[in-house]
Chain length 204, copies 2
DNA sequence: GTCTATAACCTGATAGAC
DNA sequence: GTCTATCAGGTTATAGAC
C-alpha cells in the first residue's frame, strides 16, 4: 500500500513518448501518423517507441482509450447523478464540455474520426452508450416530456456543445473568426446553451 | 454548342474509378486509403487509376472538391437568398441538410476531418466562409437580435443538424439505436429543429 | 535503456506488352 | 485503354552493439 512513495514526475521516457503520441495522433489521426513523427516530437529514438509500446497500434490504443475517457468522462457521471435536477445536469454538462474543449479543441473530431475508421473496435464506446441510454438524465427527460424521444434532446444539446469545436477549422480560419473571438463566443455559450435548452425543454 | 449530343452514361471507366474513390475515401479518409483499395472497389487494375488521374492526390482533390460543394452547396444558396424570411431560411436549411445527410451520412465527418489534416489547403473553405459571413441570413439575424452574435445562432443550428450524423457511430451502434429508428428520428428533426430554433430566436 | 543499422514489408507510380 | 510486372521510396519493427 505504501510501496510507491515517490510521485511519478512524468518526465520519464515512457511518458515523454505518450505525450508526443497524444499530440501527433490527435493532430493527424492514426493512419497519417508515422512513428518517426512521434519519436522526433518526443526527442527520442524510433527504436525506443517499440521498446516501450511494442507497436504503433498498441501505443495508439492506449492514447485512444485515454481520449475516449476524457470525452465521455465529463458526460457520463453528470448524466447518471440521481441527486441533481434535469436543469442542473444541463448546466453542468455545458460548462464541463466547453471548459474541456477549450483546452483540447481537437479531441472530439479525433475520437469520432477514429471510431468511424474502425467501428467494430473500441468497446468503450458501446459501454458509454449503455451508460447514457440507461442514465438518470434520460429517465428524467422521458418523464418530463413524454411526447419527445429523449435522444432528440440529447443530440441537440451535444451538437450545440461540440459542433463549434468540430467545425473550428471552417469557422475559425484567419480573418473570419480569430482565436480570441472564438474563445469569447465559447465562454458565452456556457450561459447561452443551458438557457436555450431549458427553453426547448419547457416549450409546448 | 451542339457538339456533345450523347449523354454521358456514367458507366465509363473513369466514372467507375471516381465512384469507387468516393466510397473508399469517405469511409477511411485520405491517409488510410490505398490506391489498391480503390482499384479493387472499381473492379479495375491499379495502373488504370494513375492512367486516368495521374496520382492518388489528384484523384483525392477531385473527390474532396465534390464533397465540399455538396456540403456547402445546400447551405450557401439558401442563406444568401435575399427574398426569403429568416424563418423560411431556417426551415429550408434544416430540410435540405437532413435530406442530404440521410443519403450520405458520412459526408460531414469526412470533410471536416480532411480539412483539419491540411487546414491551409482547400481555399473553397475560405470562400464558403466569406459567403456565409456576408450572407443575407447573417444580416437578418443581426438585425433581429442585436444582443446576440449571429454565429452563436448559426453554430447552434448547424450543430443540431450535423451532429447526429457526425456522431452516428457512437449513437447508432447495434442494439442502442438501430438504422430505422435513427432514420425516423432524423425525419422528425426536419420539423423539430426549425421549431426549436424559432423559439430561441424569439426569446428574451 | 538507448542507440545505429538493417530487415521485412507495404504503397504509389511507371514501363512496356497487348 | 487495359493489363502484368516491377521499381523506387517510405514505413514499421527488430537485431545487436554500447
Amino acid at each position: 500500500m505504501a510501496k510507491k512513495i515517490k510521485i511519478e514526475p512524468d518526465t520519464s521516457t515512457e511518458e515523454k513518448i505518450k505525450e508526443a503520441a497524444r499530440k501527433v495522433f490527435t493532430q493527424k489521426g492514426y493512419a497519417a501518423t508515422r512513428t518517426r513523427d512521434i519519436a522526433e516530437e518526443a526527442g527520442i529514438n524510433l527504436a525506443l517507441l517499440n521498446y516501450y509500446f511494442r507497436s504503433k497500434e498498441k501505443l495508439f490504443e492506449i492514447i485512444m482509450m485515454e481520449k475516449m475517457h476524457a470525452l465521455f468522462g465529463v458526460l457520463v457521471p453528470v448524466l447518471n447523478d440521481s441527486t441533481t435536477s434535469l436543469e442542473k445536469k444541463i448546466e453542468l454538462v455545458s460548462v464541463n464540455y466547453i471548459e474541456l474543449l477549450s483546452h483540447t479543441p481537437d479531441l472530439p473530431l479525433f475520437v469520432l474520426s477514429e471510431i468511424r475508421s474502425s467501428p467494430q473496435a473500441f468497446g468503450e464506446r458501446m459501454q458509454a452508450n449503455k451508460l447514457i441510454k440507461d442514465s438518470h438524465f434520460i429517465k428524467q427527460l422521458t418523464e418530463k416530456r413524454k411526447d419527445l424521444h429523449p435522444l432528440q434532446f440529447l443530440m441537440s444539446l451535444l451538437g450545440m456543445l461540440l459542433f463549434p469545436f468540430i467545425a473550428r477549422p471552417v469557422f475559425g480560419s484567419v480573418g473570419v473568426l480569430a482565436q480570441k473571438e472564438f474563445d469569447f463566443l465559447m465562454e458565452e455559450r456556457k450561459r447561452l446553451i443551458p438557457q436555450w435548452m431549458k427553453l426547448i425543454l419547457n416549450s409546448n
